[in-house]
Amino acid sequence: MTSGSPAKDAGEGFTSLASLLRAVAPEKLEEARRRVVMQNREELLRRYRAAHIEGKRVIAFLMAEALVRNGVPPFVWLDGLALDGLTVNQRYDLFLADLMWVRRWYRDHDKVVRYRRCKVMLAGADHLFHREAEFAFYEGKRPAWKLVASLSLTERQQWDCALLRSATIKKRVAATDAMSERVFKALLGDIRAVRRTATFGEAEALATLQRRLTLWRCSRIVRTASPTEIATRFEQMTGRPISRQAVAQQLEKVRTALRTMEVTS
């Protein structure tokens, strides 16, 4: 999703998020957290994006906490947005989000990490987490691939993350993005050929098209092609559960449509 390259953000210096959090009275933060947790997934995503883009970093952080708690991985948060021009502070906030995700959903990962400071970053108390994260980020001068290596992140964990991705994962994301339009057109052509009925009108056709395109994208993430794993990714991306049987059935239809249109995935 992002270049992860060293800082190219000449216009903005690095500001520690921990300092911004400390500048807000604890009771105000708690009150804000109480408001945030009342939001549903879609509201959280919409508001996170707005806060992130507008540089409302403390508020974006509170949304990020809630999204992580709700099991929505960071790669979903800014899905579909161009992230090439992120400032150093926006990249740091995404780095923190990735770490928060790993801390919450891979609780034993610190045990496989070799470096002591990285272990503290993954398993230490909140104030240590912020301190070590700032040290590791090095004001944007340390590239993402180095952080990925230091944290010994698995391929699956990197797919969950927004910023912490190796060159291999980024290439696969770029390839998926490049293919998306052709795949979309192939699936659109296929769905147009389906006869409309009283129970399958334009709205249903559009929903089917979106579901198949998302499943295709999920299948690009899951190297093993496991329908269970693809179903998990689908739920992470959309918030809607899907059975592994439905995944297998829908992906077969996607493959047939792509073969017909001679699109290779």
Binding site: V24, A25, K28, A50, K56, I59
Partner: protein, 104 residues
Amino acid sequence: MPHKVNFDGDTSRLYEQLSHLTGLTPGELINRQLSAHHAEGHELLALVVAHPELHEEAANLLQSYGPEPLLVGIKRIAPRSYLTLAERFEHKMSEVMGKPRTAF
């Protein structure tokens, strides 16, 4: 950055006992307790940045600390239109979330 702090007699005895109780050093204890008051310090500095002419009055709030809460003192000396950091945060929250249903 390490700082050397001299406690008065009562404070010194208190922190020795608290240190014995918790296993934390007096420095660690003070850091923990002070972190709850960081926001007040930031509020004072933000006021001086926005209104340098209030430098002396702002400094006096801390020099004569208590019993008036620092934030109350800041509101007392600041221009009526001045928004504290907490108020600015609430405004930003409202922009993103809409108005709260109850008073913030």
